[in-house]
């Protein structure tokens, strides 16, 4: 394994990126060290663990972590590996417990504040007296907690690195996209819930294909998804002048790239197009009202109206921040050419039952492995990865020159650029700029300095 990666592999200024970074085991191993062990990663939604003792088995990079709620209601993220010999202390996807008892030799870890001082502390040790002579310092052998954790209006994020910039600094203006993800259709933050069940599936593609897709690849839509246009997947059905998304979406709405932070989205912060029209008029009326409420709230709270649509938070969490759909996806690395994709679906916590059920069924036929839209994405990501692994193929870099030199500073956000033409690879170029900065092995302070103290 190398500590850092050759900067020549990534040349965002000229729009040239080596195929190596999508197929090489060395690069992959370095990513685990320099990116996944340092970046803020999405863990889960608060509504998945509403009660004390609730837990959800999540994942950071290649590793299993437990999202828990302790007896005082506090949320924690703990590495799911016993400190004795590493056994997974929990192999359930979800449940409720205050102690994780290791099935190997029986060490137990507690999240009950009346028994231990820190959640995840080692509590029970078989033969503690006779075998360890009571000398084992239990306070030193608890489950490993993440270094930082944040609850952003119900969205839980964590990082292993104590030096990682604060979540606010790390996300910058991208927080408006996260706000929209965490807000109901009337714009009120913290008013969504995760539907029970996370879709998890394996693809034979490099994890960055997933991020890049949602980050700003409007270019792939007309070709990759031509078949869904034909069948009328949009909320307005077949008659609506629609592609696979929202029937009011204008042809060109620009895209946003956080040039130093690496995040990006396929729309801009200052522009939005309202909710779609539905085949069912009642739904159209309902969502028109919600849109008006949203406009009022956002204005009162001084939040920009846009920041909807597909987007990616560096490195591996992608989202649809609007309601059609409102979902998020995390690309968990497995190997250079294999990724485990997790997809959550979020809905307003106060929708009429029939509307929630309509949305759920619509989400499911849109996204995920059985989704009419997403099926074709995975075909492309997999075979693109496959055809890039060969000795000859690896000699030739990918082209990222679409929209080169065509972006200008955002008028709404001070840390982003916007491309006025919908189709651009500006977002990807800046994503890989950020990727290269972390992969260089530079410290956070050095990375910050290289930004020119911006």
């Amino acid at each position: 394994m190398t500590d850092s990666v050759d900067p020549l592999m990534v040349d965002p200024d000229n729009g040239i990126i080596s195929r190596e970074i999508f197929v090489s085991q060395d690069v992959f191993d370095t990513e685990l060290e320099q990116i996944f062990a340092r970046a803020w990663l999405f863990i889960g939604h608060e509504s998945q663990i509403p009660e004390p003792g609730d837990f959800f088995n999540s994942r950071m990079g290649t590793e299993s972590v437990l999202l828990t709620r302790d007896s005082e209601g506090e949320i924690h993220v703990l590495l799911n590996s016993c400190r004795h010999r590493g056994m997974k202390v929990c192999r359930y996807d979800e449940g409720n417990t205050h102690d994780f008892v290791c099935p190997y030799h029986g060490w137990s870890y507690s999240t009950d504040g009346t028994l231990v001082s820190v959640a995840g502390e080692l509590f029970g040790v078989p033969h503690y007296r006779a075998g360890y002579d009571r000398k084992l310092d239990r306070s030193q052998w608890g489950l490993i907690p993440t270094a930082q954790m944040v609850n952003h209006h119900g969205l839980i994020f964590a990082t292993w690195d104590p030096d990682t910039p604060s979540f606010d600094e790390y996300t910058g203006g991208f927080r408006f996209w996260l706000d929209n993800l965490a807000a109901n259709t009337a714009g009120e933050r913290g008013r969504v819930k995760a539907l029970r069940g996370v879709q998890k599936w394996r693809i034979k593609a490099n994890w960055k294909f997933v991020s890049e897709n949602f980050l700003g690849d409007n270019y792939h839509g007309p070709t990759s998804h031509s078949s869904v246009d034909a069948v009328g997947l949009g909320p307005g059905g077949k008659e609506a002048p629609t592609r696979h998304g929202d029937n009011k979406k204008p042809r060109s709405i620009g895209s946003t790239s956080f040039f130093d932070l690496g995040h990006g989205g396929v729309t801009t912060a200052g522009y939005a197009w309202g909710y779609p029209e539905f085949e069912d008029e009642n739904m159209t009326t309902y969502f028109q009202q919600r849109w008006q409420q949203r406009e009022q709230r956002l204005e009162a709270e001084d939040r920009p109206i846009g920041g909807l649509g597909p987007s990616t938070m560096f490195p591996s969490m992608s989202l649809h921040a609007g309601a059609f759909p409102r979902a998020l996806i995390v690309a968990h690395p497995v190997g250079p050419t294999e990724t485990e994709v997790w997809r959550w679906f979020l809905v307003d916590d106060d929708l009429p039952e029939d509307i929630e059920s309509w949305l759920r069924r619509w989400y499911l036929r849109y996204s995920g492995p059985a989704g009419l839209v997403e099926q074709d994405d995975m075909e492309n990501w997999d075979y693109a990865t496959d055809a890039s692994t060969g000795t000859i193929a690896r000699r030739y870099p990918y082209n990222y020159q679409l929209g080169l030199g065509m972006a200008s500073p955002s008028e709404v956000l001070d840390d982003a650029v916007e491309s006025s033409y919908l189709m651009t690879e500006e977002n990807a170029r800046n994503y890989y700029r950020r990727w290269a900065a972390l992969m260089s092995g530079a410290s956070w302070a050095e990375i910050d300095q290289a930004r020119g103290g911006k």
Partner: protein, 186 residues
């Protein structure tokens, strides 16, 4: 139903014939799907068809009720007739890249049992059939998927007495789906 109470030979014979008829239905369906005669397959569906495949979860065995997702939760499929039609239409566009070129698929069904017959085997109108499925997909060159699980179907006789699929509930025996997509109809 073949129970102790159905003692007459006639009733037992009727059950046997019914089972044969529905077994034939399942085998016909498998052939239509594997021969990509999707429009003909759609003809086998009731207008009110529901087609569901929940997610499977690892939970404590005492919590078995939560071992798969329920209605209202996330699933792999929660389709009605219009969505199933859309899937077939999408396949027919020739631009559905995930199935262009088409995959080679074989459906095997076994362990077929009649779980309930209403009102009775002599004059059946609604039959619940349980089976196992094994769906094999080979794609392009070396891409291979095998899906195995349990299926519970409800078949309803239409006005002409033909069996139409009213409900299909699929329990796939995979926690993490080990395939990139589910372009196959089960």
């Amino acid at each position: 139903m073949t129970t102790a109470s159905t003692s007459s030979v006639d009733a037992r014979l009727a059950t046997l014939l019914l089972k044969d008829e529905l077994t034939e239905r399942l085998h016909l369906e498998a052939d239509l799907l594997d021969e990509q005669r999707f429009d003909e397959w759609l003809e086998l569906l009731d207008d009110d068809v529901t087609y569901t495949m929940p997610l499977r979860l690892n939970v404590h065995h005492s919590d078995a009720d939560r071992a798969s997702t329920k209605e209202g939760d996330v699933s792999w499929f929660e389709d009605d007739l219009s969505t199933l039609r859309m899937r077939v239409e999408q396949l027919a566009t020739g631009e559905h890249w995930a199935e262009e070129p088409r995959s080679r698929v074989s459906h095997l069904v076994s362990n077929i049992r009649l779980l309930s017959v209403a009102p009775n085997p002599m004059a059946p109108e609604m039959v619940e059939v349980g089976c196992r499925f094994l769906v094999y997909r080979n794609r392009v060159a070396d891409e291979t998927d095998i899906w195995v699980g349990r299926r519970t179907d409800t078949w309803r006789a239409d006005t002409q007495g033909h069996w139409r699929l009213l409900r299909r509930h699929l329990l796939l025996d995979q926690g993490v789906l080990m395939a990139k997509n589910l372009t196959v109809l089960f």
